[in-house]
Amino acid sequence: MSDLPKFSGTERRIVELLMAHEEMFGLQMVEVSGGRLKRGTVYVTLGRMQEKGYLESRQEPLPEGAIGLPRRLYRATGLAMRILAAWKAAEAHYLSGVHPQEA
């Protein structure tokens, strides 16, 4: 049980978003999440998720005339998708056990 990778609510939301949209920028995730992801914390979470191997990223090629740093596009890895599937299955199993009459 201790080997099961940790998966917070925010991480789950990010992976779900990335599975729905394939590739996204950090700010895009904040906008699409409808206030569930915060701009001040999302980049820290994205960084940690990359470290854990849940996400991979690439730099967007700078458009013509754009200045500043190139933006980073994120994509969920197979590992993140498998963990999400496992968590969803575990959740369904748990809920069916807690409320048998509702299942």
Binding site: G26, L27, R39, G40, Y43, L46, G68, R72
Partner: protein
């Protein structure tokens, strides 16, 4: 966009390369693009949102600063400098204390006890000023990346404040009372601890602390307030001196600047004593609340550090060659 450039420079100074690349660069890149796409008043809103997100990310990531490993050689050098400075200054300060009581020289155990109990008090007086030399041991080391230097300085400041809080809050009052008890002749009543001999916890929970304070008059509650402020100011002094020396070393080097630590330390000591004395005078002259004057030294050192920080930001221009040369 100057704000984002500054934000990135700030992050690069405080965080390791991986954290900057994974967290701060994407945040700033999105912020820059949003700002470029916006126009007019919306740009101001984007700037504010970006800045608040950046501050939030810095706050969340700040534990990584404390977790940054500091090379053992630096830690060792810092500890050695602090120990040497404290030993010399505390030793020097203890001499008059020990020589002031001639009769005890006849009593070797009492003399030894006094030395043992005078040392914590002398240490609390010397320790904050050791920070000037300690910062030199961190910053004058070209082989260390800036974020490691800053992490080392931050850790030094935090640890020094904790040490000082323990020393002035508990150890020095206890040693002082122990000395008073030990030096009381046999058959005499052991003196009750005065406010100076009470721990911070005892002062905070003192039953007379809540009594009315009359500005300009030394009531018991006022004395407790003064004692608490005194100990708080002494506790934060090491962090202030770390900042002071840090900003001094951040300025571009010139012939007489930054002053060597051996010179700057006595200057800092003199300025501290002058500010302390001036604060005391002002408090009396203006009939301020007891202990208010004790805030003057931290104010003076904060202004000094801020001025140095501002000067460090300005590019230094070499004097131009005379015309026709």
């Amino acid at each position: 966009m100057a704000t984002t450039d500054r934000a990135l420079a700030f992050a690069s100074r405080w965080f390791d390369e991986a954290t900057v690349r994974r967290t701060f660069e994407p945040l700033i890149a999105d912020w820059q693009r949003e700002w470029q796409d916006a126009s007019g008043v919306r740009r101001l809103w984007v700037s504010l949102c970006g800045l608040s997100a950046f501050i939030c990310a810095v706050a969340i990531s700040s534990p990584t600063i404390i977790a940054t490993p500091v090379p053992r050689s630096i830690s060792w050098r810092v500890a050695k400098r602090i120990a040497m400075f404290c030993l010399i200054v505390a030793g020097t300060l203890s001499i008059p204390i020990l020589r002031a009581r001639d009769p005890i020289e006849q009593d070797a155990p009492l003399w030894a006890a006094m030395l043992l109990m005078a040392l914590p008090v002398a240490f609390t007086m010397a320790f904050p000023f050791a920070m000037v030399m300690a910062v030199d041991a961190i910053r004058r080391n070209a082989a260390v990346p800036p974020h490691v230097e800053r992490a080392a300085a931050m850790k030094l400041g935090v640890i020094a404040v904790c040490v000082m809080l323990t020393a002035v809050g508990f150890v020095a009052p206890f040693a002082s009372q122990a000395w008073r008890t030990r030096s009381t002749p046999a058959g005499w009543n052991v003196p009750q601890p005065r406010l100076q001999q009470l721990s911070i916890v005892a002062l905070l929970g003192h039953p007379e602390r809540d009594a009315a304070i009359v500005p300009g008059h030394y009531t018991r509650a006022g004395e407790i307030r003064r004692e608490l402020i005194n100990r708080s100011v002494l506790s934060i002094l090491p962090a202030m001196f770390v900042w002071l020396r840090w900003t001094a070393l951040g300025r571009p080097r010139r012939r007489f600047w930054p002053l060597p630590a051996v010179l700057m330390t006595p200057i800092v000591m003199v300025v501290f004593l002058m500010a302390l004395y001036s604060g005391f005078i002002l408090e009396h002259e203006w009939a301020l609340q007891p202990g208010t004057g004790l805030f003057l030294p931290p104010i003076v050192f904060s202004l000094w550090s801020l001025a140095q920080q501002q000067l460090a930001r300005r590019p230094w221009r070499a004097p131009s060659a005379p015309q026709g040369a």
